[in-house]
Symmetry: C2
Subunit: 164 residues, 2 copies
Amino acid sequence: MKSGKQKESSEGSGLDRTDRRILRLLQQDGRLTNAELAKRVNASPATCHRRTQRLFEEGYLRAVRAEVAPQRVGRGALVVVGVVLDRSTPESFAAFEKAIVALPFILDCHLVAGDFDYFLKIRVRDIADFNRLHGERLIALPGVRQTRTFFVMKEVVDNAPLEF
Amino acid sequence: MKSGKQKESSEGSGLDRTDRRILRLLQQDGRLTNAELAKRVNASPATCHRRTQRLFEEGYLRAVRAEVAPQRVGRGALVVVGVVLDRSTPESFAAFEKAIVALPFILDCHLVAGDFDYFLKIRVRDIADFNRLHGERLIALPGVRQTRTFFVMKEVVDNAPLEF
DNA sequence: GATGAAATCCGAGTCAC
DNA sequence: GTGACTCGGATTTCATC
C-alpha cells in the first residue's frame, strides 16, 4: 500500500511529483539512462520507463536535442533584430512569416505587441556576415519597412532550461 | 588534388563531413542510438561511437537536453523585455547580471549595443503573472532605469536548431 | 592514427503478477 | 507498482590498413 499520492499537485496539469522530477532531470540531461533516472526519482526502472513514455505521448516532452556549440561551428555572433512592417494586415504578416521560416539562420521569430512587429534572434559567423545577410536577405523580406539591429556583446544567459 | 578525405573541409574547425553529419543528426534527435547514427553516416558503430565521444570531449556538443512543452507546465506566455540601466559602468552591468542569473523565469539575457542595454526573454504562466513579476522582481533589479515590455502574440520560430 | 569486426556487458522494453 | 526475462545496442578489444 502506498502512502497518499499527490497527483494534480500544484497545476491542473495531470503531473505528480515524480513526473515533474523526470521532466526536470531529462531537461538537464537528455542522455540519462532509464536505469539512472529511476534511481534518481526513487522508482523502479519499469515504472520510470512507463512514466517517461507517457510524458512523450502526452506531449509534455516535445523532443530531445543535442546542443551544438555555436562558436565551434562558425556561428559565434548573435544578433537581435526588431522589424517593422509596412502594413499591419493579416496578409502582410502571413507573407513575412512564410519567408522567415525558410531562412536557416533564424533562431527565433516572434510577433510582438509594441513598437516593433517582430523580434528576430539570429546567429551568424561575424558582424560582416550579418551585414551581408541584412542587406541581401532581411530587408528584402516581404513588407519590411524598417529594421533595428542590436548586436549582442555578451550572452549572459542563453536558452536556459525552463523552470516550473 | 587527391580524392581521399576531407578533414578541415570548409571551416578551420577540425571537422570532416562525417563529424558534421553526426552533429546535425544529434541536434535533430538526441535520442538516436549509436547503431542508428552509424547507419545514417555510413560508418561502423565503433567508429561512430568514437567520433561522437570526441565531439563531446572537444566541446562541439555541449549537452543533450529534453525540451519540455512550456504550455503543458504552466509557462505558456512568452515576453521580451528591453532594459535600460541608470549608468553604463562595469559595476552597474555586473550587479545587474549577477541578479539576473538568479531569476528562474529568465530564458535569455543578452547585453546589446543600441537603444537598450539588455534584452530579456521570459516565460511565465500568463500576462497577470508577468505583471506581478515585473513589478516585484524586474524593476527592483539593481540599476534598472527603464524597461519596455513586448508581449509575444505568436511564436513563429522558437529556438530553431542551428544551421551550419 | 584511424578503421571495422567481433565479443562482452548492460540497459531498454515487455511480460506476468 | 514490482520483479524477471529477453533482445538489442553500447562499449571494449583487437587485428588491420
